[in-house]
Symmetry: C2
Subunit: 519 residues, 2 copies
């Protein structure tokens, strides 16, 4: 069978079919208008559920059997436990023992802790993964070893896909730090507390069967119910669902690298010069070392000016919580807590609000929070001279990262990528990015340790910062500077075989990733 290809709106060749399903090529940020109906999951009848609300099952296997686990099903999990997740591996261990084959794993993200799943990808239990493949699983896929084609979506794209019925989840397993026997659940307390469970919201609403697993069962009602028991079929008590020290990374600290600190300072100064940091503004900075430093610089500027931010979007952490507690930020709208201070603040402070990919990122909603942000700070593995961004592959072609909310955040009013000009002597600014995850028209500013490049489309920003004294350059100048130091980078070598598709926020395909050629 010959695969047919079409060129999409960013010039990438896209197959007309992936995993046997038809593909819509990317048509531009707002180019594709979906007409249709949201997915309607099966109607359930209360008469089929226990009157006393006690939905407990003895163990994961029992619940999976009750839920009707069988060949070809799509099984979803969430990633609020990050690298401390203990549940996903168990699900597929049970499935493998039961001899179930060709499952699709649909996590909201995967982590190195999921490396044991390679065994189940190899023995046929898992057909393919739809979701980020950080680290080992991505490498496995890049080597062409996964039976099906991986499908990567943004957080918002994942919600969209479930809401629209593009992905029908047969069984969702939601690991919950606190839950009651009815299935109400939250992430705020218990030994495995992770703050919130927003990434599992779509799964709870749309999956045919929903299993809640907890290591902290409380009597009904579990308050607040971030996950509603009315959507839950079964509840399982387990000794441990996550490794606390790997769930929250207490070590998230502001960068000490002078280069990174300089990039952070330059970013904050740029925002100030461009008039973005004004009373009532909003920002999303993320949790990397540079991003944390930028948040701190924002705090300094706000203190100096006597102004405050109306809201900041999390990934929250101790630094952002400090800004909230100090009153410099009125609300944190939080998608995931990155440390215990974030968890505590969300539990105690009503102005630290849990959000979900529905409220924050779903492109197939009546608006979302992402486009309301005045400034968004994001990362990238590569950027090209057309400002296209890559976050999933490295310059050697290996698929090693998921997209998180990156694509969704591109709809912010000003999108800034603070990036070093090179990493391990490999230039970050390219003629063309290896994989296009976001189109250049949505990326406004590149801040590097050797200067700032503004997207020519943003004439307003160019005008506003013209006399700022900041080192404004063209992206070509930045690229040439890096290449003068590191040399022209080698291009990655690929086989023809497509190992993963990169979805845009609207369900279209913006790029594909191919198998890396063995050197």
């Amino acid at each position: 069978m010959t695969t047919k290809f079409v060129k999409n709106a960013v010039g990438r060749m896209i197959p007309t079919e992936i995993n046997g399903k038809p593909v819509i090529p990317f048509k531009g940020p707002h180019g594709h208008k979906t007409i249709g109906r949201k997915y309607g999951p099966p109607i359930r009848n209360c008469g089929d559920y226990p009157d006393d609300g006690d939905k407990r099952q003895p163990d994961l296997k029992a619940a999976l059997v009750e839920a009707g686990l069988k060949d070809g099903m799509t099984i979803s999990t969430h990633h609020h436990f990050r690298n401390g997740d203990l549940i996903a591996n168990q699900i597929f261990q049970v499935a493998s023992e039961m001899g179930v084959k060709d499952l699709v794993w649909f996590p909201s993200a995967s982590f190195p802790c999921h490396e044991p799943l390679i065994e189940y990808l190899e023995d046929g239990t898992i057909h393919h993964i739809e979701g980020s493949m950080n680290g080992p699983l991505g490498r496995f896929a890049s080597q062409g070893k996964m039976k099906g084609t991986g499908v990567l979506r943004s957080h918002g794209g994942r919600y969209q896909a479930v809401q629209d019925g593009e992905v029908v989840v047969d069984i969702a397993v939601i690991a919950a730090p606190t839950a009651d026997p009815f299935g109400n659940a939250n992430g705020l307390s218990g030994p495995s507390s992770c703050g919130l469970l927003g990434f599992a919201l779509a799964d709870s609403q749309y999956a045919h069967k929903v299993i809640v697993v907890t290591d902290n069962l409380v009597p009904f009602p579990c308050i607040p119910w971030q996950i509603q028991g009315n959507n839950v079929d079964y509840v399982i008590e387990m000794e441990q669902i996550g490794i606390p020290e790997k769930i929250v990374s207490g070590t998230t600290r502001i960068t000490k690298s002078p280069d990174r600190l300089y990039i952070a300072e330059l970013t904050a100064k740029f925002c100030d010069a461009a008039g973005i940091i004004r009373d009532g503004f909003s920002f999303q900075a993320g949790a990397g070392g540079t991003a944390l430093a930028i948040g701190n610089y924002f705090g300094e500027i706000m203190r100096e000016k006597g102004i405050k931010a109306r809201f900041a979007r999390g990934g929250s952490n101790q630094y952002l919580v400090e800004l909230l507690d100090e009153g410099l930020v009125e609300h944190i709208l939080d998608g995931q807590t990155f440390d215990l201070e974030g968890v505590r603040s969300m539990r105690e402070n009503p102005h630290h609000v849990d959000t979900s990919p529905f409220t924050s990122y779903n492109y197939h909603g009546k608006g979302n929070f992402a486009s309301l942000l005045d400034v968004v700070i994001l990362g990238a593995t590569e950027v090209d001279i057309n400002f296209n961004g890559n976050v999933v592959t490295h310059s050697d072609g290996l698929l090693l990262h998921g997209m998180g909310g990156w694509q969704n955040c591109l709809f912010g009013k000003t999108v800034i990528l603070p990036i070093p000009l090179f990493r391990d002597r490999i230039p970050v600014i390219r003629d063309e990015v290896t994989t296009i995850c976001g189109p250049g028209e949505l990326i406004d500013v590149i801040v590097s340790e050797r200067g700032i490049a503004i997207n020519p489309l943003r004439e307003d920003l160019i005008a506003a910062t013209k006399d700022s004294g900041l080192p404004i350059k063209t992206i070509h100048e930045l690229k040439e500077e890096a290449e003068r130091i590191c040399g022209k980078p080698q291009l990655p070598q690929f086989e023809d075989n497509i190992i993963a598709a990169i979805k845009w926020v609207d369900g279209t395909v913006i790029d594909v990733v191919k198998q890396v050629k063995e050197s």
Copy 2:
């Protein structure tokens, strides 16, 4: 055209069609199993909504026009403002001025303040009402004057109908005491605060177009978002959306009638004798004068025993809030706040939790809260010797009330109806109720000022209270006692014309109401 009728599981003759739609006759409390899919409302695209999240329209008419208001549409409103609502009448005034015809009004309940809508029922703007018709509108319908047939649903039945697509709401208008320009909204503060907006949840999730109307606009984000802006199309600012003193009835007081107090005391004593009032129990008492007194007696018993309730369901009020504040009730799970103390408590106390008909009552969910309650105290206009209950018609046949959550609450573990044996010298216990709203098998105990009747199906309650010294009688004895005093009541006289259908919680029809014969 001759209407065909079939006899349903409680022996009532039900037409096979209502308002041109096929009818499923009631098959018993759990007798009908719906197989199908939830309704999938249209997929929306963020590109069609303002990037800055500002969805404001100049006025109600502008928003209705934008929403595409046209003949035959279904327009929904909520009743959290009760008799102080200022919005529903305006909608249909606008529609009438625009010359729009044959609308279906789908309120979560209607009140005497909606009497002006009779004009629009008469001029053809409104075809019929699906929802409770308390007072004047019910009388209008009972006189056979409404063009279409009314459809009455419980709060849970209303959610079920919307969720299942049995009712497709074209335009929902949600009056919100506080909202932001994106459409996030809550009922907790502002001049028209009503506590929560749970009755509008289904409308916000499933309606094709959603309009939020507020008299207290705040900058994004409005926290908490009981209604999510991601479901909202338009936002309107208005000077006043409700009359505060009619929204919350500050006059809700415990009964001073010695008969009612005695009934309340007897009810509490019965619960105690039956072993229902134990540590960690749960109850729902409602907000009538007798019900409030029962709550107070529960409090006394708990104090005496040194125990507490795990949760109580509201309609909340100052008395229930006092129990919460005193620690005798650990959580209030609240469907609507009946006074300002309820509003304040919900705003300030995280253990006073807002609920919705989805969590509390939806029969087509994976369980709901109603069946978890140890004891539920409800009212009735009539009960019959088979323990069937009526809450919508009076004994003269007039449709004067909605059902609220009554049907849904019948799934509680023990359902008690504390009722006087007669009202205005008309006996309440009948051979047959005028309208069956709930089947006798779900009603466990009748408590009157002249004794307690236990449903023979509840052998456990009969055994537990046998030696309690309480005045246990048969329902026949109670009925005869009332008739000895008041005489055998006259039966209401009806025309053949069906003016309203009474839906069961699962969408089947349990009874119909006919036009009352003019005397």
